[in-house]
């Protein structure tokens, strides 16, 4: 099994396509950082325009922590496409190249093959998120410095003290990794039905876009569906940045407003991962390879 995983990782990281995602993430992040570095004050004014008359803020709100949050909001919508580029190609790409025949005629089980491939695509996904963290968080911290984190939610403002932020990012990135592995599992599942990678990549993104629209639409008939859609839970990383307050309306350092929501979302995502991977194994073991 270890040999299979090594070989799958070797194949992933020998393909030029793999590095498109890393280059795309780097390009997007550095462009945003450049824009905010050059014109951060205008952006801060824009953020504050609704509440600027009611409260006064000292210090630099455009710091590395806030910029990372902004970038996560933007990029975690697009990273699924980059994840799907590899995950949705894992089986269909082999079928397309014709190498699936040879792989299956080798002395290991189809279940081992699929698990090794899924594990390899998970490693790729995690490395992509590590890369995202390095650029969005650490590079932003280096360029913009650190400070208290000021967040505007839909109906309230959250102010996190500087020493209460970093662990939240660690939690948010771990959760985002779980969300992206769910996307990888979906792409992986869809890839067993196709003999070219375009179909499963497009299908993965279509499912995500469709479910995201259903998750965000506030129409009563869809509300009953929302708890079961994995896209509803993919954005629960934001919960790490909601803080509890005491009776005096003072923030409780180190607290999370709704930790149970994070746990529930994580469980839903894990169930989806198990479902997609288990379904892939079950179907693939019965599949005749005709490619």
């Amino acid at each position: 099994m270890w040999t299979l995983i090594q070989i799958e990782l070797y194949k992933i990281f020998r393909r030029p396509r793999t590095y498109i995602a890393f280059i795309a993430v780097a390009a997007l992040i550095t462009i945003i950082q450049f824009g905010l570095k050059v014109d951060g004050k205008s952006y801060a004014d824009f953020l504050m325009k609704d509440i600027g008359g009611t409260m006064e803020i000292d210090g630099n709100i455009i710091n590395g922590y806030l910029i990372c949050y902004i970038m996560l909001q933007l990029l975690l919508v697009h990273v699924p496409l980059l994840v799907a580029l590899i995950a949705a190609d894992m089986i269909s790409g082999e079928a397309n190249m014709g190498t699936l025949r040879l792989l299956i005629s080798k002395p290991f089980s189809r279940t081992e093959l699929l698990l090794a491939k899924f594990f390899a695509s998970t490693v790729y996904t995690l490395l992509l998120l590590v890369w995202l963290a390095i650029l969005a968080l650490f590079l932003s911290m280096w360029i913009f410095g650190t400070g208290d984190m000021f967040l505007m939610k839909s109906s309230y403002v959250v102010l996190l003290s500087e020493n209460d932020v970093f662990w939240r990012y660690a939690g948010a990135f771990v959760f985002a990794a779980l969300a992206m592995v769910t996307v990888a599992a979906l792409g992986f599942f869809l890839s067993i039905f196709a003999e070219n990678s375009i179909g499963p990549i497009v299908a993965t993104m279509s499912v995500i876009v469709f479910f995201t629209i259903l998750s965000t639409l506030n129409i009563p008939i869809f509300n009953a569906l929302k708890p079961y859609l994995f896209t509803t839970h993919m954005i629960s990383w934001k919960e790490f940045f909601d803080i509890q307050v005491n009776d005096a309306n003072e923030a409780i350092v180190g607290s999370i407003q709704n930790p149970q929501k994070i746990v529930n979302s994580a469980l839903v995502l894990i169930i989806h991962i198990i479902g997609f991977v288990g379904g892939s194994i079950w179907i693939f073991n019965k599949k005749d390879v005709l490619s």
């Binding site: 299979l4 070989i7 020998r14 025949r101 040879l102 299956i104 005629s105 080798k106 290991f108």
Partner: protein, 311 residues
């Protein structure tokens, strides 16, 4: 002699299509077993079932005396295959592909082993070149190198000459003969090209519409005494009259597509040539064809089913 492959009552049903129908055959150790049939006859489906790519609807496959369904891993360690096109990872070099598939086959290859293997298939000089720069023939040879790298006892080659030029076909043929004669491998090779099978096979199975038509020793099926000679002359009417009036009349078979067909022993061809000249028949061409080809065409188009020709 040990039976390496034993297939009993193998059937594969795809919805309304029966691709393989109650097929039984066996391959002995050291055989070059030719698997013949027209396109769509069920050769590839049968071979894919032998390699666990397709699950049989019914029937049993035993390799090396073990049931394939129950001992898949152990059996496949000892099997090397090229299945239709020799597809490999085009973004990797020949050496990297070979190393990767060697490890997938359960061995830890040394550099020497890999280079020796590439040398054997004539690719040592291109070891570090990416496969995407290779010709079809080079890919086919690399595919065979991959099939052999873990030193399997049984080699399965499904249509190994597809898409190759004459030189490529000759290379593959020589490689099969080398594997059989020098390395004592057991080889199952499928093709729709009779002439290719004829030159390498020791035993032959012909299937049509998923069913066995004939199985037997190649030396008997490719009987040189049953050679068909096709004549084309300047005046076929005159030639036919002359032949009918000569001792060669007993060899006459038919006139087809402006050609005269005679069935005779291959060794009699020089005498025929001399006789035609003596009868002042102006010859355009004299082409020996093997009886198996006619036999094949006859039995595969006649929907006739023969259990066993000879054993």
């Amino acid at each position: 002699m040990q039976q390496i492959v034993q297939v009993k009552g193998l059937t594969k049903q795809f919805k309304n299509l029966t691709a393989v129908n109650d097929l039984s055959f066996s391959v002995n150790e050291g055989d070059v077993y030719g698997f013949l049939g027209q396109n769509g006859a069920g050769k590839s489906t049968s071979i894919r079932m032998m390699l666990t790519l397709i699950e049989p609807t019914s029937g049993q496959i035993e390799l090396f005396g073990m049931d394939l369904a129950r001992n898949r891993r152990e059996i496949l360690r000892n099997v090397g295959a090229v299945i239709e096109k020799p597809d490999v990872y085009k973004y990797l070099s020949a050496y990297e592909n070979l190393e990767l598939f060697a490890r997938l086959s359960g061995i830890k290859p040394t550099k020497k082993l890999l280079m020796d293997q590439l040398e054997m298939v004539g690719l040592a000089a291109r070891a570090n070149d990416r496969v995407k720069t290779f010709s079809q023939g080079m890919k086919q040879r690399l595919g065979i190198g991959i099939a052999l790298v873990h030193n399997p006892q049984l080699i399965v080659l499904d249509e190994p000459t597809n898409g190759l030029d004459p030189q490529g076909i000759a290379d593959i043929r020589n490689l099969i003969l080398h594997l059989s004669r020098d390395l004592k491998k057991t080889i199952v090779v499928s093709s729709h090209l009779l002439s290719e099978i004829e030159q390498v096979a020791t035993r032959v199975l012909i299937i049509d519409k998923g069913r066995k038509l004939v199985e037997g020793n190649a030396t008997e099926l490719f009987d040189p005494a049953q050679t068909i000679v096709e004549l084309q002359t300047m005046d076929n009417v005159f030639a036919l009259e002359q032949l009918k009036a000569s001792p060669w009349s007993t060899y006459l078979q038919a006139q087809r597509n402006s050609a005269i067909l005679l069935k005779l022993n291959r060794t009699e061809i020089p005498a025929l040539h001399t006789a035609l000249a003596a009868m002042q028949i102006q010859l355009l061409s004299l082409q020996p064809r093997h009886s198996l080809e006619d036999y094949f065409l006859q039995i595969t188009s006649g929907n006739q089913h023969v259990d066993t020709y000879t054993n």
